[in-house]
Symmetry: C2
Subunit: 130 residues, 2 copies
DNA sequence: TGCAACCTTATAGTTAACTATAAGGTAGTA
DNA sequence: TACTACCTTATAGTTAACTATAAGGTTGCA
């Protein structure tokens, strides 16, 4: 598939795909004899990973490292472990924060559905303690 | 407390605090007779909320809305509910993605601890399906 | 063959969220 | 009283991550 088709499939811009290639997140793809980039299912997988990793708060730099780990380009086990461990700590605290925000928001929605009750709004409290 | 003390407490820059004030995330604080801003425990709470909401992927615009909801400046229940519901959907999918990334990373750490096994690296798979 | 809709590279512009600088006032201490 | 470390506002610069533009080549179809 061409870059345009890939971009449409994933709802991103073609420029963004080229940008990721420049940044080393995507490897140089095969080309047609007329120099067009060619992509396959694997490219869709990789870009889906990038999109979702971005959504959960990883920088492109982090994502690059994760992809390199996945590609086995990074072989020093200690480095991989260190990186994974520090990310894991962050991920766990993010999950806690998100859960706490989730509870608060669903409480708010419930309160909105019963407009008689005018309970206190606990939004700030949700992420303040702990 | 002064802006400098507040900034130190939360490990952010004084400029950032003033920036948040300009953006409407913090209300105009009291001033000393020499025009210095004065802050209290409540300011710490509010800034802690902002910091953590940012970490879990909210934009400053979203955070402003959440704070306004908290401050009861937004009273139209339907609006609050709509906002909360769309955020809630995003939060839930982020939690799923984070959990899946969490599992993958802890598997990697395990594999690193048993260097004899050279299992496949499932990083990309972690966020591709679903 | 002509033309719209693709593709290429290189480079410049945009947006969000800071971050630094300039120019000057204030407070506490040697 | 002078010095250092604060504070003020306004404005300019930075960084990450795109996003758009310019200038030109390619493909497929009427």
């Amino acid at each position: 598939m061409t870059i345009g088709q890939l971009a449409q499939e994933l709802n991103i811009k073609t420029q963004t795909i080229r940008y990721y290639e420049n940044q080393g997140l995507l490897s140089k793809p095969e080309r047609t004899q007329s120099n067009y980039r060619i992509y396959d299912q694997n490219s869709i997988k990789r870009l889906t990973f990038i999109k979702r990793a971005k959504e959960i708060g990883f920088s492109l730099g982090d994502i690059k490292t994760l992809l390199e780990m996945s590609d086995k380009k990074v072989n020093r086990c200690a480095d991989v472990k260190d990186f994974a461990e520090t990310r894991l700590i962050k991920i766990r605290s993010r999950i806690e924060d998100l859960k706490s925000m989730e509870m608060t928001l669903s409480d708010i929605i419930k309160q909105c559905s019963q407009p008689n009750k005018t309970a206190e709004c606990p939004i700030i409290e949700s992420l303040t303690e702990g």
